[in-house]
Symmetry: C2
Subunit: 328 residues, 2 copies
DNA sequence: TTGTATGCGTTATCAG
DNA sequence: CTGATAACGCATACAA
C-alpha cells in the first residue's frame, strides 16, 4: 500500500531537528511549544508524512473501526440501516468494516473471531442466529434482538408499531383484520409487532386473525390464505397488518392478481417504511422504523466510554406513513 | 477490544515449550515438525490464543482489507454492487472497509488518505468526482470510469447496452424512439449508453431524439418533455431508452399519470436491471449489468499480485431483461 | 527443522 | 516542555 520507504516519525523528527516524542505529540494534538510545532508541521509537509495506523494500533490496541454484521445489503431496509450507521460512525472519525452473514450462522462466528484479533474496537450486529454466544470481552451492540442485560439492544418500538397499525386500520374504517408474517422459531423484538397488534385489536373490539407463513414457500401459502378467505370475489378482511413491507408487497400483488382491490377492498399496512429506490415514494403504507435514530443509538452506544453502564434496551418510536395501500 | 492480558505468541511458546518463531510458523501454516505442531496447537487451544492483527500488519505492511468507495447504499444498484464485492472479497479472506461519499468530493480525498495510512491494501472506487487524483502508490481500481491506462477500470458494456436497447425496441415494433438521461458534465463509461443507442438507431433507420434532463429538477423537466410530445393524448414516441432504471421508473410514473399507457402506447427500457427488494421481480424492462462479474473483476484485479501488468479496461457483457414495461 | 534476535512505527514513561 | 528509550506482537533473516 505505502511506498516501501514512506517517511516515518523518525524521519520527520530528524528533518525537523526534534525528538521523536515531540513529533508524536504534535500529531496527537498535545501541548507542544509553538516554535516546535511549526517546525514539525513544516517537516511533515515537506516529507509528505502520513501516520501509519499499524504502529498506532499495535501500540494502543485501538483501531477506530467498528464491525457491522448484517445479513446483506440487498434488502433495502438493511441497506438503509448500513447507510445510517456508516454516517454516524464517520461523524465520529470511525471506520466501518462490513460483514454479510447471508443468514449463515457460522459466518457470524468468524466475524466475531475477527473482532477478537484486534481488528475492530467493537461490533454492531443484526443477527438471526438462535444460539449466538457473545464473548464478554468484546463491546457488542445488537439490533432488534435482546440477548442479556450485558449486551445492549437497540430496536424500534415494535409493540407500539403493531398497536399503531391496528388503531390506524380501525380509524380508517376496517372492521375485520388479520396479521401476517413469516413464521420463525426465533423470538426477537420484531416478534412483538404481532403482540402489539393483537393487544390493540382486543382493546378496540376489532375482530382479527393471525397467519404465520411457513418459511421457504410463502408464495403458495399466501395464495392459499387469500383463496381460503375469498367468497364470490369478496375478501373476508378489510384490513391487513403485515410483518414487513417486503411481505406486504408480495401479498398485495397476489391480492390484486386475484381481483381484490387495494386499498378499496382491503387496506394493507406493512412495517419498515421502505421507499422506492431507497429515498423516493413509499412502497406501501407502513409503520416506519426510525432507522437513522437506531443507527445513532447503536454507534453512540458502541463507542461509549463507559460501555458497562449503558442501558440494555433502547427502544425508539415509530410512526405511520401513508403509502397508497390504505385510505389515508 | 481484547482483554488487557490476552495471550501472545510468547505466551504460547512458553506454554508449549517451544520457540516464538515456531509458534509463528505453525500459525502461518509453514513447515513444522509434527510433534511441535501438535504441542503448539494444544497450547493455543489451552490459552485461547488469537493472533493480533496489529502486530502482523505492522510487520508485514498488509491488512487484508480493501476500501470500497461508493456514493451510498441507498441506491439499490450500489447496494447490489457492494454486496457482490463483499462476497468476492470474503471468498479471498479479505475484509471490506466501506466508505460512502454521498457524491461529496472532499470525502473521497479523505478516504484515499486513509488508504495511504496503511489501513487498507487497495481501493475500489465508483466515483463521479471530475478531478480526482489517484496517488500512484496505491492499488486502485475504478468502476465505470476510465482515468488512465495505469488505473484499471471495470465497467459493463455500456455502448453495447445502448445498442441492444435500440435493437430490442425495433424488434418489439417501435417506430419512433427517444433516449433520456440526466445531464452531466462528467464523461464516464455510462455516457456510452447514449452513443450505442444512437449508433444502432442510425444503423436501423429508426428515427430518434435525445433528451438531457437538467440535474436538480428532473421532475418538472420530465413533465415538460412528456407534455411537449403529447398531442390529443397521443405520445410522439412508441419507444424510450432511459439511462437508468431509477429514472425510467420516474418517467413511467409521469407517463401513466398523463394517461400514456406503458407498454401499450410506449415501451420503456431502462439500464441496470434493478429488482424489487433487490432480488424479486424486475422493476422495469432493462439492460442488465453483470453486477456479480463486475465485482469479481474488481476484486481479482485489486488483489492481483502483478498489479502493474493488469488490463486497463475490463468490459463485461450486458443482457436484456423483460420487466413489464415492454411487449416482450 | 528449530531457536534467536531484530525491527516494523507508534505511544507512553521517565529523566532532564 | 522536550528528549531519550522502552515496549506493543509479530514475521523473518540468520544462526545453530
Amino acid at each position: 500500500m505505502k511506498e516501501k520507504n514512506a517517511p516515518t516519525m523518525a524521519d520527520v523528527a530528524r528533518e525537523a531537528g526534534v525528538a521523536l516524542g515531540t513529533v508524536s505529540r504534535v500529531i496527537n494534538g498535545q501541548q507542544v511549544g509553538e516554535a516546535f510545532r511549526v517546525r514539525v508541521e513544516e517537516a511533515i509537509a515537506r516529507l509528505g508524512y502520513q501516520y501509519n495506523s499499524g504502529g498506532r494500533t499495535l501500540r494502543t490496541g485501538k483501531t477506530n473501526t467498528i464491525a457491522v454484521i448484517i445479513p446483506n445489503t440487498i434488502n433495502p431496509y438493511f441497506a438503509l440501516l448500513v447507510h445510517h450507521i456508516n454516517m454516524a460512525l464517520e461523524k465520529r472519525d470511525c471506520k466501518m468494516m462490513l460483514c454479510f452473514t447471508e443468514y449463515n450462522t457460522s459466518r457470524e462466528a468468524e466475524f466475531i473471531q475477527m473482532a477478537r484479533q484486534n481488528l475492530v474496537d467493537g461490533i454492531i450486529a443484526l443477527t438471526y442466529n438462535p444460539d449466538l454466544t457473545i464473548p464478554p470481552d468484546v463491546p457488542f451492540v445488537t439490533i432488534d434482538r435482546f440477548f442479556s442485560s450485558s449486551v445492549p439492544c437497540v430496536a424500534s418500538d415494535n409493540f407500539g408499531g403493531g398497536w399503531l397499525a391496528a388503531h390506524k386500520l380501525k380509524e380508517l374504517g376496517a372492521t375485520r383484520v388479520a396479521f401476517m408474517r413469516v413464521a420463525s422459531t426465533l423470538t426477537n423484538e420484531p416478534s412483538k409487532r404481532k403482540e402489539g397488534f393483537i393487544s390493540a385489536c382486543v382493546e378496540l373490539g376489532l375482530p382479527f386473525e393471525t397467519l404465520m407463513l411457513e418459511d421457504g414457500h410463502p408464495f403458495s401459502e399466501i395464495d392459499d390464505f387469500i383463496r381460503s378467505h375469498l367468497e364470490d370475489g369478496r375478501f373476508d378482511f378489510d384490513g391487513l397488518f403485515i410483518g414487513t413491507d417486503s411481505l406486504a408487497w408480495k401479498v398485495i400483488r397476489h391480492l390484486r392478481e386475484l381481483g381484490v382491490r387495494v386499498p378499496e377492498d382491503v387496506q394493507v399496512i406493512g412495517f419498515d417504511g421502505i421507499r422506492m429506490f431507497g429515498d423516493q415514494e413509499p412502497i406501501v403504507s407502513s409503520i416506519v422504523q426510525p432507522t437513522q435514530e437506531i443507527a445513532e443509538a447503536c454507534v453512540s452506544t458502541i463507542l461509549s466510554k463507559h460501555f458497562s453502564s449503558v442501558p440494555s434496551l433502547i427502544c425508539l418510536p415509530v410512526h405511520y406513513q401513508f403509502g397508497g395501500t390504505t385510505k389515508g
